[in-house]
């Protein structure tokens, strides 16, 4: 009898809190978005399931010696998982379109305005007494505007681990929502005529350029902004393995087994931060709102910079590709392509948008370096 009583006392039905029930619902929603809506499924499925596991009452799995917590300590606190993912992203990224049209880097630069505007927004809410974010926390929230999952997780793990769950969920959710968030802004800020602009075909990029590029980028980072070196260094390393042509077996493993294994444990670890106590908080709500604002501002600044460049440039630039500067690779580039096709059915912008798209990754990493330097 006593034993049956103990089973009852240790059962979920007896122990579960309202907050945990709410979090289970939130996590099922993330799984729904990932599986049924196919929004960033690699991360939303793993984060969502990790969140379910971390809200099971009375079990050490997301805490103490539990697998998810150990994985968090080993992979997120040290920054190892986001850095390895960045290496994988490097191995998966083709910098060819950027090399063919370097000035699209400016679009990736402009879109980072979303990051700093959001930082300001978070500090503004604090100023108004609505929220209470420190500079570190505000900086971590701002990085959501970079639209780059591993960068956001890396920065949040360094500056504001207590907000990591909310920041990661916001970053991936909005990256997933890019096809809904961006088009209205794009149509608002461009004329039909601008959207119809056709761009000249990209030149071929030689193997030598592809090999030298990651090394040059790394050396520039080393000389100008070392605090961005871990993120950009791993990106460059992955890309060098991809392009150098002599270590294909390492590049293949990086693009497949390694990035997949790390994605699984990164997702579960991030999910382990979706416990009710940490997530169900006014700050989460404001992070979600600020993240949305960040995306909108980033999209707009990319677009406006593209309009400016179009005036200056000798060859025409379709302003739509500026919106791809927020990163969210390759979703944002595809959205630019789709909106372009609606205005002009012969206008294939995809490769042109890949330039600002990967430029956005570099830009966000630079912004992250600045944040880490000043806010920590």
């Amino acid at each position: 009898m006593e034993m049956i009583r103990q089973i009852w006392l240790e059962s979920g039905i007896y122990q579960i809190t309202g907050g945990q029930v709410a979090m289970l619902v939130v996590c099922l929603l993330l799984l729904y978005l990932g599986i049924v809506k196919k929004f960033e499924p690699l991360l939303l499925v793993t984060i969502g399931f990790g969140g379910l596991l971390s809200n099971i009452p009375g079990v050490e799995i997301a805490t103490g010696d539990g697998l998810l917590h150990l994985s968090y300590v080993v992979g997120i606190e040290t920054g190892a998982f986001p850095l390895i993912i960045f290496m994988g992203v490097g191995a998966l990224t083709d910098f060819g379109p950027l090399l063919a049209n370097p000035k699209t880097l400016f679009l990736g630069a402009a879109a980072q305005f979303g990051i700093f505007a959001t930082l300001l927004g978070a500090l503004g809410l604090t100023q108004l007494g609505i929220m209470d974010f420190s500079l570190r926390e505000a900086a971590a929230i701002g990085i959501i505007g970079g639209a780059d999952g591993p960068t956001a997780i890396y920065v949040a793990g360094k500056l504001a681990p207590e907000l990591l769950g909310a920041i990661a969920v916001a970053a991936y959710s909005y990256m997933a929502l890019v096809p809904l968030i961006q088009p209205p802004i794009m149509k608002l800020l461009t004329t039909e005529a601008e959207r119809k602009i056709e761009m000249v075909q990209l030149r071929e990029v030689s193997k030598a350029e592809r090999i030298i590029f990651p090394l040059m980028l790394l050396l520039l980072v080393a000389l100008l902004l070392p605090s961005a070196a871990p993120l950009l260094g791993m990106l460059c390393f992955g890309n060098l393995m991809r392009e150098c042509g002599v270590v294909d077996r390492l590049s293949d493993t990086t693009q497949n087994a390694l990035i997949n294994i790390v994605t699984i444990f990164l997702g579960l670890s991030v999910g382990s931060k979706l416990s009710a106590e940490q997530f169900l908080d006014w700050s989460t709500l404001s992070i979600l709102m600020l993240g949305m604002v960040a995306f909108a501002i980033g999209t707009a600044s990319g677009l406006l910079m593209a309009k400016l460049l179009n005036r200056v440039s000798s060859t025409p630039i379709n302003p739509l590709i500026g919106a791809a500067g927020v990163s969210a690779v390759p979703m944002a580039a595809r959205v630019a392509n789709k909106v372009g096709l609606e205005a002009n059915p012969h206008n294939i912008l995809l490769m042109h948008a890949m330039g600002p798209n990967v430029a956005g990754v570099i830009g966000s990493a630079v912004a992250a370096g600045i944040m880490i330097m000043f806010a920590s």
Binding site: D94, L98, F106, A117, T126, Q127, V205, R242, A367
Partner: protein, 71 residues
């Protein structure tokens, strides 16, 4: 104190956007110089020979890239 925090934020925004632009401008200059040098040292005809294979490789990579990010 809080006023200072917002001021810190504004400075950080100005310095941050400045750094991003400076860094990426230097990168644009670097890439342009590098590409010019690379094309001079290994002129177009040489690389043109590799083109067909490269195009296949690039498109395969893009496909893989998309698959990795959207499946």
């Amino acid at each position: 104190m809080e006023a200072t925090l917002l001021e810190q934020g504004i400075t950080l925004m100005l310095v941050g956007m400045g750094t991003v632009f400076v860094f990426l401008t230097v990168l644009v200059v670097g890439m342009t110089l590098m590409s010019t040098a690379a094309m001079r040292l290994a002129p177009a005809p040489d690389t043109a020979g590799v083109t067909d294979e490269e195009i296949a490789a690039i498109s395969a990579a893009i496909t893989q890239h998309r698959k990795a990010n959207t499946k």
